[in-house]
Symmetry: C2
Subunit: 192 residues, 2 copies
Amino acid sequence: MQQHKDAPLRSDAQRNRERILEVALAELTHSADAPLSAIAKKAGVGQGTFYRNFPNRESLVLEVYRYEVQQVADAASQLLETRAPEQALREWMDRLAQYAMAKAGLADAMRKATSARGSLAGLGHGPVTSAVTLLLKANEEAGTIRPDVTPDDFVLAIAGLWQIDPHSDWQSRAGRLLDLVMDGLRTGAPGA
Amino acid sequence: MQQHKDAPLRSDAQRNRERILEVALAELTHSADAPLSAIAKKAGVGQGTFYRNFPNRESLVLEVYRYEVQQVADAASQLLETRAPEQALREWMDRLAQYAMAKAGLADAMRKATSARGSLAGLGHGPVTSAVTLLLKANEEAGTIRPDVTPDDFVLAIAGLWQIDPHSDWQSRAGRLLDLVMDGLRTGAPGA
DNA sequence: ACCTGAACACCGTTCAAGT
DNA sequence: ACCTGAACACCGTTCAAGT
């Protein structure tokens, strides 16, 4: 008997939750593996309170970046309105790279949000997959990319992004990778 | 004063080191994050002995898979002798995928062996990079891929491999990814 | 219904004492 | 020169006691 169906949190509980998220955003942005205990402490809540809200690290990370991830996802449809499908796709990828590099923890969140067995809900297969589906569909219909590319293919193809060191000059490395991916998406029939 | 210049290890020390590696291979292959303490225990050595040989997890992983990684790297030149450059490249990628999927810990080793800031020696930038360089060069000269692809580009392009769950049916996902990468490598001029 | 903080478990790392 | 294993530090997780 933990919590009623959709009962709103008690006001103090809600404040606690918000403070945790606030601190976590700052902390995780700085380094992706900041200790959870340190976050609890800085947020001024006990360990138990922390764990009631976020039973494990993944649930915290997903929640912290839910807003940012949603924003990235939303950019897809906006780009499709103002640009040709091909450009929209490419610019979206650039934005994705920018976000990932700016926030150290976001790359992890993305990996989990897109990974098949991310298990945990929230962004389950979520908004990013939807955004990708949208972009791929638009491009397929415009004939700018081949018609057999799945969102899963795409996510694997850009996985190199999450491996780039945000401190080095990631710009050129990411750019070259995305150029390569775009070309791969464009060309003709797949192999045997 | 730990160890003379190239003095051979005392025989008991050498046996210990070998037993650790033996156990570690089995253990890490099964799950990539097996506790180091468990490995030490199963190998029948004290914690201190373990740490003398492998000061951190990475050094152990690199050493454990040094042989396997070397084998994958060597396959490159062998393939180039018996096959057309394009086929050699593609088959090498397939082998890479197979190894990575068979050994849970090897994917991690690969990431570290190829990552720019893997820091630790051993496979520093090592044999894998050499193998990739070889394969890319042969293909560039044969005109089967574009001439501006660096080993770094390639490593980032196939990074999706390390993200595939070895327990699911990885075959098709890896295959589709590698098809896509091959096409990206082949096509004409890069973007703006 | 929610909070706190001590307590526990686990794992990596060090080090004094042995041979 | 090398080994052992107890001891320490750190972090995640649980839970009895409080309001």
